[in-house]
């Protein structure tokens, strides 16, 4: 099991207790989910389409509140936090969305710098850091390009760079290799592993790519019909 970087704290980075989620009047999308993830762990979240993977991730990156149960991040109960505290907490979470969600009117540099910009940091202070990261994801030559001018793989790496710029404590990626070829998918996963090792970031990746899961050997959280069956070992995936 790849669990690089020893946990620095005993408090779970992510803890869900009896969490259920329901949209409007429909049935539960998630039912009675319990999860505890230690800091610095690398985790896969898998399950068939419609199993609730994206909904679970939305709870983790604080896009939704659970219908019932509690979400704790870094030991803090999110339901007890003010809106500004939630914003501060979001800045500790990097998210790679399935559809990238890059802003088309901003350059590659500006998209990556976005989390720092909304934190109120000045461009002079983060310029070098952003340039280094953009180079690290292999887009140094495209730093002034706008997203529509980038290929799918380049957009993917740009979205990853944006998720990493804050050196997040938690990285959440929703089907991050859904739109790229297998070689690019491996490169992206190696990037996540490196991040996990270098920064002790807790990584949670939703994917249904079993080849990737087997190749990278990490714990698997398996969702089906809104239920989390078990913390299944990667060998069983």
């Amino acid at each position: 099991m790849t669990q690089a970087g020893a946990p620095l704290a005993t408090e779970p980075a992510v803890e869900l207790n009896g969490v259920s989620l329901r949209y409007d009047t429909a049935d539960d999308v998630l039912t009675d989910i319990d999860i505890r993830l230690k800091p610095g762990t690398f985790n896969f979240l898998t399950g068939p389409s419609g199993a609730g993977k994206s909904s679970l991730l939305k709870l983790l990156y604080l896009a939704h509140a659970p219908t019932s149960g509690e979400v704790r991040l870094f030991g803090q109960r999110t339901a007890d936090m003010s809106r500004n505290q939630l914003s501060a907490l979001r800045r500790r979470i990097g998210v790679v969305f399935q559809d990238f969600r890059l802003l088309d009117h901003l350059t590659a540099f500006e998209n990556v710098a976005l989390p720092l910009r909304v934190s109120g940091e000045k461009p002079e202070d983060y310029r070098d850091e952003v340039v280094d990261l953009v180079r690290w994801v292999g887009l140094g030559e495209r730093i002034h390009a706008f997203p529509p001018a980038l290929s799918g793989g380049e957009q993917q790496r740009l979205a990853i760079a944006r998720a990493l710029i804050n050196k997040p404590d938690i990285l959440i990626a929703d089907e991050p290799t859904g739109n790229v070829d297998p070689d690019m998918a491996r490169r992206i996963f190696r990037l996540f592993i490196e991040l996990n090792r270098r920064l002790n970031t807790t990584v949670i990746i939703a994917t249904h790519d079993m080849h990737i899961i087997r190749e990278f050997k990490a714990p698997v959280l398996k969702l089906q019909d809104g239920l989390l069956y078990a913390d299944t070992a990667y060998e069983q995936a």
């Binding site: 509140a65 979001r90 976005l114 461009p123």
Partner: protein, 290 residues
């Protein structure tokens, strides 16, 4: 490396161009309504003051010489600026609305009227004139125009309420349109708002982006509307000044310092309304999410 950053909200699009036109038009109407209402009110106030400062004394059972004597007695009273017996031409002009362009037919006896320009309380003065004339043995009665002036005052009150109501209605319409447009802009840019929100931007940060955008839009559109209103007002003033027969009851559009203050303040008020509408709309929208 150039670190000049693009704005987080994209440059204005067709929706904002339409909003610019609507806000400019509303500001134009509001400013014009304010200027016209103020001008009308100023004209009516001046006219009422003139009516209230005048009296007419009808003398009877005497000839023109007796009337001249009566005018002399009246002019000596305190508070009277001028008293004179109306000439036939003046009477003709005064009564022409009743008799038409042909004038007063021959043979109709004309009343002897004394026009009195006064200051202060004309009601007390009228009683004093009546007493003075009675003591001099002249039959005469002073009319202060008070009933007529009271009607004008009542009409002025209605005019004032209508003017304030019109300006308020236009202002509320402008605010509602801006709030609606902000909401539409927010929905149109929900993807950007979501990304900013999930990247950790505080509500205040996101709201400020929209506030700044709509503040500038309101300021520019308001200025355009005010300039257009200034141009129209200048044309009206110029036309009125070059007219050979200006009417006392037409609005007195003068473009004095108060009018210029209205023109200067309106864009700022419009922009402020836009900013507040944006803040409230964005704040409400963001609070509906986690």
């Amino acid at each position: 490396m150039n670190i000049k950053m693009n704005p987080l909200l994209p440059e204005s699009d067709a929706r904002e161009a339409a909003l610019f036109f609507v806000v400019a038009a509303l500001c134009f109407l509001a400013v014009l309504a304010t200027l016209v209402a103020r001008g009308t009110y100023t004209a009516a106030e001046a006219w009422t003051a003139q009516v209230e400062g005048e009296m007419t004394v009808l003398v009877s059972d005497t000839d023109r010489r007796g009337a001249e004597t009566a005018a002399g007695l009246i002019e000596e009273l305190p508070g009277v600026e001028r008293a004179h017996v109306l000439t036939d031409d003046e009477l003709d002009e005064l009564l022409s609305p009743s008799f038409g362009p042909g004038g007063i037919p021959d043979g109709i006896p004309l009343p002897l009227l004394i026009a009195v320009d006064a200051e202060g309380d004309t009601t007390a003065l009228a009683a004093e004139i009546d007493t003075t004339l009675a003591e001099a043995g002249i039959a005469g009665r002073a009319d202060t125009h008070s009933a007529y002036a009271a009607e004008v005052r009542e009409a002025l009150g209605t005019l004032r309420i209508a003017a304030i109501g019109t300006v308020l209605l236009l202002t509320m319409t402008a605010i509602s349109v801006i709030a609606f447009a902000t909401h539409a802009a927010l929905l149109a840019r929900k993807d950007i708002v979501d990304v900013l929100h999930l990247a950790g931007a505080e509500d205040r940060f996101i709201a400020r982006l929209f506030e700044r955008r709509f503040w500038l839009l309101g300021l520019k559109a308001g200025a355009a509307g005010s300039v257009a209103a200034l141009a129209v007002t200048a044309i009206i003033v110029f036309s009125a000044q070059s007219s050979s027969a200006p009417s006392e009851l037409l609005p007195k559009l003068s473009l004095d310092q108060w009018d210029l203050i209205i023109l200067a303040v309106s864009p700022i008020a419009g922009a402020l309304a836009a900013r507040i509408a944006a803040r409230v709309t964005v704040g409400r929208s963001l609070r509906s999410s986690l």
